[in-house]
């Protein structure tokens, strides 16, 4: 391995060096600074005689005398089942004081694309215990379903609630007969933090430790004061680990990545340093492709036991869903869960706004034999009724309740109760799907039967509560 002391330029996170042998694109580079630190980086562009290198840990401390080594391989993640229970930094070095990691294998972190022909369509219902998700935006194994939030909103509480409560109900019964102490259908959790604060990190770690989840977790921590460029590596380490556990070791893996916004800022920083032509709002033109290379690493594979389910979290700058980060994410992921500022100030926990939320894989994951026969219809009807009630709220501000028809007033009441009884449940309540649907029927029974035009007539006959549901509210 040849060492060079040929750095010609240092600019932001980039270093340019002259070489006299060919260097591969994406290859890993080690740079030794005069003060004895070793920094790692990656080849961004390689031409005859000159390479540009992106340094993960930042270029602070590098000068023209630093020595550069090309390792002749692309970045790898050492993988083993023993990673479960371990905490690492954003570059994959253990920071929990535990033993060295003895890898089974070292895997390329970029990860190859899953052949679409080899995928299996995800359709196993995951019960998160959260009504607005299970009932109306159902998550399935192998889905990528991000949480779109805003700064200061309780997205972490929601993510933790999902991580704690997520199970696949049917498999419970099957697995438990095999082996008593087996985790059954619990998930292995991979947590990839990018640029979050120490305080937020503590919140996650404390919850993992309190619930014993850490044992079946792998944590990668790049914190706010860690180098920004490292953030482009952290999620790839996390996903490489996830794929290994899922597709080689048969785990059902839940990957939580937070905060994608910080990841995208890092991409923008690198793009700017390379003087690329920027795309929308200064983010690189290839950001869609780059994000897809993360998000598409979720799924199921034909003939393999495990699965990778992703819940990325992103905070929308100024709560703007058309900002490139949520926009490009929404174009790639299979839906989104929206955490809403005004519901949050109303004290709704979790403050999920179901209207702009969506789960695209819901339709195949629910229904008879999966959840319940009436699930799809109830969900559709709840949407339609809530949307109608929501609309009327604007009108009622102008004309007052008296100017509305009786029908309209019912929809207004429905919208209020929907928020206070269906969405509102608290972060510690774990509702089974039947319970969620029953709450749905309580609310729908406020409306005249004829209004339930999204629900099959037989199902109405079976579930509609004939008596006025006022009594049911008194608790």
């Amino acid at each position: 391995m040849k060492e060079y002391q040929t750095i010609t330029e240092i600019s932001g996170p980039l270093v340019f060096a002259e070489v006299d042998e060919p260097v591969g694109y994406d290859e890993i580079v080690e740079i030794e600074t005069p003060d004895g630190r070793t920094l790692r980086g990656q080849v961004l562009e390689s031409s005859d005689g000159l390479v540009s290198i992106q340094v993960f840990e930042g270029t602070g401390g590098i000068d023209r005398n630093a020595s550069v080594r090309f390792l002749g391989e692309t970045m790898k993640m050492p993988v083993t089942e023993d990673l479960l229970g371990r905490v690492m930094d954003g570059s994959g070095n253990p920071i929990d004081g535990g033993p060295d990691i003895v890898p089974d294998e070292r895997r390329d972190i970029v990860g190859a694309a899953i052949n679409p022909y080899s995928r299996e369509y995800p359709e196993e219902f995951i019960q998160t215990g959260v009504s607005s998700i299970d009932g109306m935006n159902t998550l399935v194994r192998g889905q990528k379903l991000p949480i779109f939030s805003g700064s200061g909103l309780p997205h972490n509480d929601l993510a933790l609630q999902i991580a704690r409560q997520a199970t696949v109900p049917e498999e419970d019964d099957v697995d438990e007969s095999d082996e008593d102490d087996e985790e059954g259908s619990e998930f292995a959790v991979i947590f990839g933090a990018m640029g979050i604060t120490q305080e937020e990190a503590n919140e996650f770690m404390a919850d993992f430790e309190r619930t014993g989840a850490l044992e079946r977790s792998v944590v990668f921590m790049n914190l706010a004061d860690d180098p920004a460029v490292e953030r482009t590596v952290t999620p790839r380490l996390a996903l490489t680990t996830a794929e290994y556990l899922a597709f080689d070791k048969g785990y059902h893996v839940l990957v939580i990545l937070t905060d994608i916004t910080n990841y995208c800022e890092a991409l923008r920083e690198i793009g700017a340093a390379r003087e690329e032509v920027p795309g929308r709002r200064g983010y690189p033109g290839y950001m869609y492709t780059d994000l897809a290379q993360l998000y598409e690493r979720a799924g199921r594979i034909e003939g393999r036991e495990g699965s990778v389910t992703q819940i990325p979290i992103l905070t929308m700058p100024s709560d703007d869903i058309t900002h490139p980060i949520p926009d490009l994410t929404g174009y790639i992921t299979e839906g989104q869960i929206i955490v809403d500022r005004s519901l949050n100030s109303q004290g709704i926990e979790p403050p999920i706004n179901v209207l702009p939320s969506l789960s695209r894989l819901m339709d195949d994951g629910i229904g008879e034999g999966l959840t319940r026969e009436d699930h799809a219809d109830v969900s559709d009807q709840l949407y339609a009724a809530y949307a109608e009630g929501e609309d009327l709220r604007d009108l009622v501000n102008i004309v007052g309740r008296e100017a509305l028809t009786e029908r309209d007033n019912k929809f207004l009441d429905f919208a209020d109760r929907f928020e206070n009884e269906f969405v509102q449940q608290g972060y510690d309540t774990n509702r089974a799907i039947e319970e969620t649907l029953d709450v749905g029927w309580d609310l729908l029974s406020m409306l005249p039967k004829e209004e339930l035009n999204r629900i099959d007539e037989d199902l109405i006959a079976e579930h509609y509560r004939e008596e006025t549901p006022e009594a049911a509210t008194a608790d």
Binding site: S46, D48, Y121, E296
Partner: protein
């Protein structure tokens, strides 16, 4: 992709630089668009720029680890597709490598690189039956024989467009591989079932006709309000989650095309898997045969190499043209053309070309119109007729239609299905906005609808359009004063409009019955709502208060028409109940 005969290989090239999918090489003797193999692993690429001794190549596979000094070889052939029996019931990547074949060769569920595979199986034999005889004279494009390709499609074996033709000196029925000769001409030319065609040039055809037949979609809002012609073009722009893909899937499933080419361009892996899993199980309403047997899938998902995303559109349209040449009506769906445009942008910016609007290359508009121009109803060079309908999804950033891809597309296409986030949010599906959308084919298709569905089809449609327009105006007033403040006749109009929206325009793609609605049913449903309208207004005129009219319990049954299995009977009963109930009120 085409396994071009590699006689003319040039091995002289050496990599000069690598930046993502863009590689430059020196000393390569190449023409524009030649296919080359890059590096020790032989990654497939295409020449996209030549400047002096320096050749720029876009590489269709990941380039990690590839470095300067590695060799580049030129095949001397442009990027081409293999054409012949075996295209249907297949899934390809963007450069026509069969994905099942790749899985087998790579022994992995993950896409490795440096592995190539021919677009059609070169070993498999097919039963060829001639339809011409020795002594017949044939010309370019003429059909000389047939092969049962799938359950539903007969493949026509043609004289390739680049062979002039002549007198047949030998032709025989039998089992042949695609490369074996099935016919010989007196000119010495031989014809096999295999053709190759460079994807970036259109296959030849004679002039285009004005299309007069609709591509029946089985979707009420489309067939009813905004029809597309067989041979027409349509765009579906909409923000994420508004229903572009579901709309495209619905067309791929239920439209009455003979052949469907579905191009998943830079979108989700699972969406392609869904098609692979669903289509073999679904029946073509026209033939009763599995849908997959008329379908060719091209999947270059968002995480697959970006250069192959750029080419997948061309691969798709060339395959579509080949089936058109056999006289078929082909429908091509491209989801999403925006990802294709972004792939162009990405490559262009790596080439450091002068960017046009929003960083897209200056030739964006030209590339889009060239693509949509390959659609149409054509007179074929063999004297027959065939059509290609092209339906492109557009994914505008932030859902804002003023961006370059949407705008440049709208300048070309004649049907515009505008998806609306607001409608999608309230789960009004398909969320095609009836105020913004249009079809410039309406007039030319009207005679077909009159003849085939109902004599007064255009009039009934116009009635629906008028009611929806009126609702739109009334809604503005309602927003200010509330519905109760409106005069009774206007309240009734709002009620009728609500049925138009909820019972007719909405259609649930996931309901077994509702998912497909034949034009006859679309028409009858509309008529039933009109019956309600007419009876209700008569009652109102007779002095019945609007509240009482709304109480009539037959009316909400309008909402069940879509999901009714025996719809004919259901609608008959409903109409007579509406009549009797509303007439009883006065």
């Amino acid at each position: 992709m085409s396994q071009a005969d590699t006689e003319s290989v040039d091995e002289g090239g050496v990599i000069e630089s690598v930046s993502g999918p863009v590689v430059t090489a020196t000393d390569l003797d190449a023409r524009m668009n030649d296919v080359v193999y890059v590096g020790e692993e032989g990654l497939m690429g295409e020449v996209i720029e030549i400047e002096g001794n320096l050749t720029t190549i876009q590489v269709y596979e990941e380039t990690s680890g590839v470095g300067p000094g590695e060799p580049v070889t030129n095949t001397g052939e442009p990027l081409s597709v293999d054409l012949g029996p075996g295209l249907l019931d297949t899934i390809y990547d963007g450069v026509q490598r069969p994905l099942d074949e790749l899985e087998e060769k790579m022994q992995s569920a993950f896409l490795d690189r440096g592995v190539d595979a021919p677009g059609i199986d070169l070993e498999r034999t097919w039963a060829f039956t001639p339809i011409v005889e020795v002594g017949d004279t044939v010309e370019s494009g003429d059909i000389i024989g047939e092969v049962p390709e799938t359950e539903s499609i007969t493949h026509k074996v043609m004289v390739p467009p680049d062979i002039d033709g002549g007198e047949i000196t030998s032709i025989e029925a039998g089992e042949f591989t695609v490369e074996e000769t099935v016919a010989e001409l007196d000119t010495g030319e031989t014809i096999s079932m295999h053709q190759e065609w460079p994807v970036r040039s259109a296959r030849p055809a004679n002039e285009k006709q004005t299309p007069t037949e609709p591509l029946v979609s089985g979707q009420r809002v489309q067939d009813g309000l905004f029809p597309i012609a067989k041979g027409g073009t349509a765009a579906i722009p909409g923000p994420f989650g508004s229903g572009k893909t579901v709309t495209q899937h619905q067309l791929a499933k239920w439209s009455d095309a003979d052949i469907v080419v579905y191009v998943g361009c830079g979108e989700r892996g699972n969406e392609m898997t869904e098609v692979i899993e669903d289509f073999p199980e679904l029946e073509d309403p026209k033939t009763g045969k599995p849908l997959m047997s008329r379908t060719c899938l091209i999947a270059n998902t968002s995480n697959m190499p970006v250069a192959a995303r750029e080419s997948c559109i061309y691969t798709g349209i060339t395959i579509a043209e080949y089936f058109r040449d056999m006289g078929y009506d082909v429908a091509l769906m491209a989801d999403s053309t925006s990802r294709w445009a972004e792939a162009m942008r990405e490559i262009s910016s790596r080439l450091e070309e002068m960017p046009g609007e929003e960083g897209y290359p200056a030739y964006l508009a030209a590339a889009l119109s060239e693509f949509y121009e390959r659609a149409g109803k054509f007179n074929l060079i063999n004297g027959g007729e065939g059509s290609i309908s092209v339906i492109g999804a557009v994914s505008p950033p932030g859902g804002d239609f003023s961006e370059p891809v949407t705008q440049n597309t709208l300048r070309i296409v004649k049907t515009f299905w505008a998806l609306d986030a607001d409608l999608a949010e309230r789960r009004h599906f398909p969320s095609i906005n009836w105020n913004e959308s249009y079809s410039l084919y309406r007039q030319q298709l009207d005679p077909w609808f009159r003849d085939t569905v109902a004599e007064d089809y255009p009039e009934v449609r116009q009635w629906a359009v008028d009611v929806l327009d009126e609702e739109d105006e009334l809604q503005e007033i309602v927003q200010l004063v509330g519905k109760d403040a409106l005069p009774e006749d206007q309240q009734l109009t709002l009620e009728v409009a609500r049925y138009l929206r909820e019972a007719w325009l909405q259609q649930n793609a996931f309901h077994d019955v509702d998912t497909y609605c034949e034009p006859q049913k679309t028409y009858r449903m509309l008529q039933a709502i009109r019956t309600f309208n007419d009876e209700a207004f008569s009652a109102l005129d007779a002095g019945v208060p609007v509240d009482e009219i709304q109480e009539a319990d037959a009316a909400p049954r309008l909402n069940r028409m879509g999901t009714a299995e025996a719809w004919d009977e259901f609608i008959d009963d409903l109409e007579s109940d509406l009549e009797s109930q509303l007439r009883d009120l006065y």
